[in-house]
Subunit: 338 residues, 2 copies
Amino acid sequence: MTAGPLSGTRVVVFGVGAMGKIVTRLLVDKGARIVGAIGRSPSKVGRDLGDVAGLGKELGVIVEDDAGRVLARGADIAVVCVSSYLATMHRHFATCLEAGVNVVTIEEETVFPWTTAPEEAKSLDRLARENHVNLAASGAQDVFWLNLVATLLGASHRIDKVIGHCRWNVDDYGPEVAEHLFVGHSKEAFDGSVAASGWPEFVARQTLEALVARLGLSVKSISSDVAAVTLGEPIRCRSLKLDIPPGDMVGTVDRTFVSTQEGPEFAFTMEGRVYRDGETDSNHWQIKGEPDLELTCDMANYRFTTCSTLVNRIPDVVAAAPGLRSLDMLKPPSYRHH
Amino acid sequence: MTAGPLSGTRVVVFGVGAMGKIVTRLLVDKGARIVGAIGRSPSKVGRDLGDVAGLGKELGVIVEDDAGRVLARGADIAVVCVSSYLATMHRHFATCLEAGVNVVTIEEETVFPWTTAPEEAKSLDRLARENHVNLAASGAQDVFWLNLVATLLGASHRIDKVIGHCRWNVDDYGPEVAEHLFVGHSKEAFDGSVAASGWPEFVARQTLEALVARLGLSVKSISSDVAAVTLGEPIRCRSLKLDIPPGDMVGTVDRTFVSTQEGPEFAFTMEGRVYRDGETDSNHWQIKGEPDLELTCDMANYRFTTCSTLVNRIPDVVAAAPGLRSLDMLKPPSYRHH
């Protein structure tokens, strides 16, 4: 028998990549009843989830590639760790919702999808309501960029400007992410690509929009830019197995600016790059206003805390009202002791 | 006409000392309808509240000394800034509740009074329910020591130990507080007094108990100690107008330890002393567990943020269910834009 804060909760693990494997271990620790696992890779399908996740024990759950079939057996919630964009994930979420299964996901656009993907958001919201279940996104941003900041602002009499800065390690997320950020390429190649094809807005925008909504403010304008990050010294990119010479790209810095109808302004800078030895994931927020305030977390450990926050969110998501619940609609995540 | 997040809320300012004066200005900024003011000092009673609070304008509200009479005229909430202990404040809270007026207060024991003042807590809880109103305490601890920490722990998979440290400026709270902390006295005099008469547990204990309750854990044991703080150099205590020689007391350090039935341990150190030039109110929390986490706020500005958080809490307290609402029962405080 399992015991713990998730005992009795029937969970489907949807996605058994790097994040899905961590999530699986945390679910087991918390006593969740894992009733299904969905994967794509032929190297994983047909194997036991405990084996795939490296737990050193079998869980009696076989990784399958037919999501509809796994979900049709019934579950309280699917924990979906597959990709970062709603355009890609829309049909997977729909499959879960149509099966009457709640969804919590690390897919970042769903944090606040109403303006960047309004059609998908509305259709998923409708589908969730029709099936009496709900859909929410969580991850490290839920704690570090949204709820810690909103809570700190509970001590603010007047906000003039909110200035956030975070740094995350490209090497924590595999070669695809490093490639996406032009790591190892020249600044010129990156600038040319951005000029030609633009640059997708990332989780910073959605998180700032969720923060503004949580504060009861209304967006007046949003803008963003991106720049190449280079270093003056050579550095090794572990995920690409590549030595990067000085001056070539080690990552990017994304900046998002939001002005509000009511006056307060928001700026959030996300630096994603290859780390020097000893660097850690950081999170810093500065509030200009009355009074000035400041918050720093130097051990944000974004990869792990994305998984742990997602798992801690499960009871909130199971209990939430039907629909797509953007993060501004949920109370802060809670610790779940096991 | 006033506008703002508190427009339409009828507020009585109960206590017009240093904190009550700041609170009055913030209430005016937020558009509250101040319908009464209660004070004790003959130098304030009979004068306009705006004048007493140094606002440079009259508010049309006279400071009165008969609390029952002011409250009988009706109000949504009394903002009570008088004293730090429930034993002293019990009858004042009762006067408000009996008049059908909600209470939000900086009195620190009410943060979590169930174990240190169980009789008063139960009787006020009953009185509040009977009169369909409620009573809650707030202040800087609400944001910095309770809700920021609880929110950070939403990213924690397993807590082993939570270690907090904060520092506050004795000179921010007037001569009575400095005297209470033996500022300017010898360590021997302090140690003798503690050995003879003990030392009152302060807000650290109540805040830790509220945190443990919020996390869904159960207290196994609580202990605390206190020690004198001295410096190696002379320092000026502004509130006592006193030069303190090296080796004499500049404040105290209180430590509170909580162990839980479930395992996680908590330790919170509060250092209250005269500041050197350039020192600021600090707030630091370290989490040992999976993962290790850390949070720092170096501009906590406790005196001001106690007032601003209290005012931001007003809509929550007006809307709360009847009874004494200890801080573990309320969601985090929110920013209220004006």
